[in-house]
Each structure stands twice: as structure tokens, then as C-alpha cells.
């Protein structure tokens, strides 16, 4: 059991991180990561929804007819999203306004459906809930890193606290969605580079194989 939990933890946070490995949930990243507070709320909301929906779907997995499982999953996810939405509207109306439609759009976040289909369908409730929680945690950590860069450079602040002591000009592009693209691209690059074993470069062998490739292509074309 402990091993399973540990496996789910490392898998979701690093080896199969939903964002930098599976490139899921990108639209929400572009939208909400310009301020760290918004990002944190979004991440917490997603962690709540994903862990409880995974728990529910896993608990009901033997009672849901296979054919209609996706629509049932959507219903379950939507219920939790509505809970988060109502909670925010009631207690933090300003945050709710700042995040706009994106809380409601958690339902369309592919990570939740992905975890439901890929994990909760086939596993027991407790580990499914943890799997969902860790997947949401991996997502939140990546988002917080992106929003840290964006808020620091775009507004000169961290969690709304001004740290721009030198009065430098802020980078307007960091407030705009394209900045999230640049940063997520660099993060994917770094993550891939860190996990790929270093290749021993053998130029001669590569050149040889490239020559063979070209020759083979020519033969294929000639054959056609």
C-alpha cells in the first residue's frame, strides 16, 4: 500500500507530470497564471475536484454501466466544480470575479477526465483519491512556478506584495497569455533534458546512418 502511494506520488509529480510530461490542462495555464493568488485558488480548486471525483468514480466504478461511464463521470465532476464555484462566490466574491469563467471550466480540464479514465476506473477508492490529489498537486506546483515568473516580471510583485524595489520597468508581455507559452515551453524543455540520459555523440556513425537513409529513400522513390 505504502509502495503504491509512493509510486502514485512520484509518477504524478515527476515521471508523468500532467503538465510538463503529458501536456494537459494547458488552456487553464494560459488563462490564470498571471497572478499567484489566482493560480493558487485555481490549483486548490482543481485538487479538490480531482481527488473527490476520482474517489467517487472509483467507489461507483462497479455500478456504472460501461457504455455510459463518461457521461456519469462528467456529472460527478460537474457537481464538485459547482461546489467550488458556489463556495468561492459566497466567501471570496473578488477572487471569483477575477477568475471569471475559469473555475466553471475546471470541468473541461482534461486532467480530471484523464485520471478518471486512466486510474479511478480500475483502482480502489482510497488510492484513486490519492492519485487524483497528487495529479492536482503536480499541476499546481508547475502552475505556481509559471505564475511566480509571470507575476514577478509582469507586475513586480509576489502574492500581490510589491518587491520591485529598484523601480524597474515591468514586462508587459508577461501579463499576456503568450508569456505562459514561453515559460511552459522552457519548463518542458528542461524537464525532458533532465530525464533523458546523455547520449554519447558519434558523428561518424550518425553520418553513416544518414547516408544509408538517403540511399534507402532514393531506392523507395525509384521503386515507385
Amino acid at each position: 500500500m505504502i509502495n503504491n502511494i509512493r509510486e502514485a506520488f512520484f509518477r504524478n509529480l515527476w515521471t508523468e507530470n500532467q503538465v510538463v510530461r503529458q501536456i494537459l490542462g494547458i488552456c487553464s495555464i494560459l488563462a490564470v497564471t498571471n497572478l499567484m493568488v489566482n493560480t493558487l485558488v485555481m490549483g486548490l480548486g482543481l485538487m479538490f475536484v480531482i481527488s473527490l471525483s476520482s474517489l467517487t468514480i472509483s467507489a461507483l466504478r462497479n455500478y456504472i454501466p460501461h457504455r455510459v461511464r463518461m457521461i456519469v463521470q462528467t456529472f460527478i465532476i460537474a457537481s464538485y466544480v459547482i461546489l467550488v464555484d458556489i463556495f468561492l462566490k459566497a466567501n471570496y466574491p473578488e477572487l471569483s470575479r477575477a477568475l471569471g469563467p475559469y473555475i466553471g471550466l475546471i470541468i473541461t480540464n482534461c486532467i480530471i477526465m484523464g485520471r478518471a479514465e486512466a486510474f479511478a476506473q480500475k483502482n480502489t477508492p482510497f488510492i484513486s483519491m490519492l492519485d487524483g490529489l497528487f495529479a492536482g498537486l503536480g499541476y499546481t506546483i508547475v502552475l505556481m512556478m509559471i505564475s511566480f515568473v509571470r507575476e514577478l516580471l509582469g507586475f513586480g510583485s509576489i502574492f500581490g506584495v510589491n518587491v520591485n524595489f529598484l523601480q524597474l520597468d515591468t514586462w508587459t508581455i508577461m501579463v499576456m497569455p503568450p508569456a505562459a507559452f514561453f515559460i511552459i515551453g522552457v519548463m518542458i524543455w528542461v524537464a525532458t533534458a533532465l530525464s533523458t540520459p546523455k547520449q554519447t555523440s558519434q558523428p561518424a556513425v550518425q553520418a553513416l546512418s544518414r547516408g544509408q537513409q538517403a540511399l534507402a529513400n532514393q531506392q523507395v522513390k525509384a521503386g515507385n
Binding site: 524597474l168 520597468d169 514586462w171 508587459t172 514561453f182 515551453g185 524543455w189 533534458a193 553513416l208
Partner: protein, 306 residues
């Protein structure tokens, strides 16, 4: 197949004396008149920005290649050209750290994320400039007059009535460091053409389209040719070998397309100048142009009725 020396590569087998190093240093020499004019007009600021941009570009190139486990090829001069180009493409009062940042972005986001020289779809110097304009709109549009550095607007913002043609031609107007003096740009352009580095099709297509369109629209064609960074971009940026089509027809198409986009942005857009975006947009269209203008393979596809 066992003996690697017997492998024959696909044709063409034509050899050429040109290397990246030779071409890039020809471009540097071609940029010298512009550098001299910029220094004469804007003084120390021109040297400060160009030197900073060049150093930042070269250092970033070396770092990127080190991180990517590639051979470090600083001597080919391509990073230096990018650095000088972006240095000449900013207003003279730009703070130093912004200049360095723009140069770093040009090399990393403009070039190395795509795989380095030869793989970049967009002109790196223009990517850096676009990044700076979007990020720091105010410092990037803070124009001063040459010599006495009084705050003013560019000729494109003032309109054709406010400036005289000799001022536009010799560059005694406000603008980015390298773009003001048409005279210096022409000298550099003629040298590059003479060295065979510059293909006349793109600059002529670009400038010709702007001339024709502004004439048709009843504007001052000469003013639109000389004002702004059109000439500078046509000679030094739109002719970049990596990011433009390879076929002669495609190069005409590139120049004409960039000209149309430029006139549309200048006349109906909310920006006074559209050179950066016109070239970047046509850079994006370059693979498509290459595919459409691919020459017929000898002996194939002549006529279906034959």
C-alpha cells in the same frame, strides 16, 4: 555499405566557396556604413547599444550551444549579426538592461528553441525586437532627434508635411539607430549586392510593392519609402537567407506579400510602423511559399495530355 568513404550523397554535387562565416562577415561589413551613420547621428548611445547587444547575443549563443551539447560555432558570426541588427533596431535612449534582454530573447526564443542556425522559422533579431516592443512599449517608442536628443515623434507619426526629403535621405530625423539614414543603408545594400550576399528580388519586391500601393492610394510614395525602418529591413532583415523562400519566384512573393502587409498596417492599422510584423508574418508563410513555388523536376510532370 561497409566502407563509409564510398557513400555518395544525393545530387547536386556543385561545390561553392561560400561559408556561413564568409556570408555573415560580408553582412557585418555591409552594416558598417549604417553603424558609422548611427554613431555620427546618435553619438555614444549607438555604440553602447550595439556593443551591448552584440556581446549579449554572442554570449547567449555560446551558452545555448553548451547547454544543448552542440559544438560552439561563434566564429560563424551569425550571433554577432543578430546582435548588431537588434542593436540598430531600437531607439537610442533604450536602457542597457532592456537591450541585453532583447538580445538574449532573440537568440534563445528566436533561434535556439527551434534548433539553432538554419532551423529558425523567424528572423531572430525581429523576434527580439517584437518581444521588446510588446514588453516595454514606452521605452521602445521614445524617440529623440539626432545630435541634440530632444524628444520628438518619428516622421511616420508626424506625416509627410513635417519633414524634408534630404533629412529623410541622410537620416537627420528621429527613429531607431540604424533606420534613419537611407544613404548609409543604400551604400551597405549595394556592397552586399556586389558581394552576392543580397538577392535583389526580396528588397525590390518589398520596396516596389510599397511604392505602387502608396501611389495607388494617393499617398506620398517617396515619403513611405524613406520614413521608418522599411529600407533597413528590406536590405538587412527581409533578405535573411534562413527565414525567406529559396526559389526566385518565392522570393518575389515574399517581398510583395511583406509590402502589402506593411502598407495595410501603416495606413489602416493602429501602429505607425509595421515593418517588424510584415516580415515576421511572411517568415511564417515561407514554408508554404517554398512548397507552392517548388520548381518542376526535370523530366517529370510536363503535361498530362502528352
Amino acid at each position: 555499405m561497409e566502407n563509409s568513404r564510398l557513400i555518395v550523397s544525393p545530387s547536386p554535387h556543385v561545390r561553392d566557396e561560400d561559408t556561413i562565416h564568409k556570408i555573415m562577415f560580408a553582412v557585418i561589413i555591409g552594416l558598417l556604413p549604417v553603424l558609422i551613420a548611427a554613431t555620427y547621428l546618435f553619438g555614444f548611445n549607438a555604440i553602447r547599444l550595439v556593443v551591448l547587444a552584440s556581446i549579449a547575443a554572442v554570449v547567449t549563443e555560446a551558452l545555448c550551444q553548451k547547454i544543448r551539447n552542440q559544438p560552439i560555432t561563434l566564429w560563424d558570426g551569425s550571433a554577432l549579426v543578430t546582435g548588431v541588427l537588434i542593436g540598430l533596431n531600437v531607439p537610442p535612449t533604450l536602457p542597457s538592461w532592456m537591450m541585453i534582454l532583447g538580445s538574449v530573447v532573440a537568440i534563445t526564443l528566436g533561434k535556439h528553441v527551434f534548433g539553432g542556425l538554419g532551423y529558425n522559422p523567424f528572423n531572430p533579431a525581429l523576434v527580439g525586437r517584437a518581444f521588446l516592443v510588446v514588453s516595454f512599449t514606452l521605452p521602445m517608442t521614445y524617440w529623440t532627434t539626432p545630435f541634440d536628443a530632444v524628444t520628438t515623434a518619428t516622421p511616420l507619426e508626424l506625416g509627410p508635411q513635417a519633414v524634408a526629403y534630404p533629412d529623410l535621405f541622410f537620416g537627420t530625423i528621429a527613429g531607431s539607430l540604424g533606420e534613419t539614414s537611407a544613404f548609409a543603408i543604400l551604400i551597405g545594400g549595394i556592397y552586399l549586392f556586389y558581394r552576392g550576399v543580397l538577392d535583389y528580388r526580396i528588397p525590390l519586391g518589398y520596396l516596389g510593392t510599397v511604392l505602387v500601393l502608396t501611389t495607388i492610394l494617393g499617398l506620398d510614395p517617396l515619403f513611405h519609402l524613406l520614413a521608418g525602418s522599411l529600407l533597413f529591413a528590406a536590405v538587412y532583415m527581409a533578405s535573411d537567407m534562413v527565414t525567406t523562400p529559396v526559389t526566385p519566384v518565392g522570393r518575389w512573393a515574399f517581398g510583395i506579400g511583406a509590402g502589402i502587409i506593411l502598407v495595410v498596417i501603416r495606413i489602416w492599422g493602429s501602429l505607425p510602423e509595421g515593418v517588424t510584423y510584415s516580415i515576421l508574418l511572411m517568415n511564417a508563410a515561407t514554408p508554404l511559399i517554398n512548397r507552392w513555388t517548388r520548381p518542376r523536376i526535370y523530366g517529370q510532370g510536363v503535361s498530362k495530355n502528352a
